[in-house]
Symmetry: C2
Subunit: 181 residues, 2 copies
Amino acid sequence: MSLRYGLLGLLAEGPASGYDLARRFQEVLGRIWPAQHPKIYAELRRLADDGLIEVDSEGPRRRTAYRITESGVAEIRRWLAEGDVDHTMRLQPLLRSLFFWLMEPDDLDRHLRREVEFYSGMAEQYSAYAERKDRGEFGTAPPVQSMRVTIEAAVRLSQALADWARWASEHQPPAGHPSTE
Amino acid sequence: MSLRYGLLGLLAEGPASGYDLARRFQEVLGRIWPAQHPKIYAELRRLADDGLIEVDSEGPRRRTAYRITESGVAEIRRWLAEGDVDHTMRLQPLLRSLFFWLMEPDDLDRHLRREVEFYSGMAEQYSAYAERKDRGEFGTAPPVQSMRVTIEAAVRLSQALADWARWASEHQPPAGHPSTE
DNA sequence: AAGCGCATGTAAAGGGTTACATGATTGC
DNA sequence: GCAATCATGTAACCCTTTACATGCGCTT
């Protein structure tokens, strides 16, 4: 159900085609809410059937841009204000960590180093993006401000996971250095 | 695919029935990797068909406990060492935050306060659990140590999200107090 | 004219949730 | 005997991903 509202929300910023939306989902939302184009096109049609969006313009190569309708705006506002928040995380790295005890110390070490690298890199990327926003490179329109907030969460979460992975590797009995117990 | 390995990993700790596993998924993994019993029973049968687990014992009320086989242990070890890590997050609260600009300031305020409360509570719950582990209430067996690591991640993530929600409400133009601009 | 990127779609399969259903055992 | 809990399962549905497919328009 969330993709539906993701699309509505993006369209609330202005008209866009399925292709545009797919790109934005990939670029901005890739790690937060992945969505592939088949799902996007299908959902757009359902949104149009329900009268929440309508065709805005048609361009070359069958390009079809949609714009949000009044009831569409009402619907996403309703969702934001009344809809239940889903707090599910479903983080595979955490599921894996439950089974660290099954891993060879060397493999675990390697795994954790990679995780630190991955999440540090992610944190840096998002930080850089946040800085550009803060320098006003994208303007100060409301949608940009909200995106700044989202990016802040991404920064904090990847930072937290990087720190955690570092903590975990220190917390493990170091490989090749059996405890002096 | 991850549920498969989740089940294998839990069975690596010792024999358990589908019912046991469903409870453990709910209690421990509820927020990290939710799984409902129909999926669990189905997956258990597939694991048995593939020879990765086998029936350990049968009890009252058709209870069937499974134990992991040697190839099952090999398979989860292989996954842990070689399988690709999926770093997808898919956090609905972050998707929502992209659209904060569409919300009435009052609704947003209320939403963020609830989020702070929710994640603080979650952080506290996990912290309490971590403390009990640290006091040795659950022993010091390897699976318990790994679980301690997982819980640490849960604590840090919920803390990060609680902090973020607090930051976000301060970052928003406060409702009813228009800026002195 | 060739190749790339734009732009949309279908089909199949996989993964997960919800609703429905059933029967056995335990505790009161 | 009754209610609660244990324990398993089926069916339908929804959401998502992957693979396959097609054709247009722009650039070189």
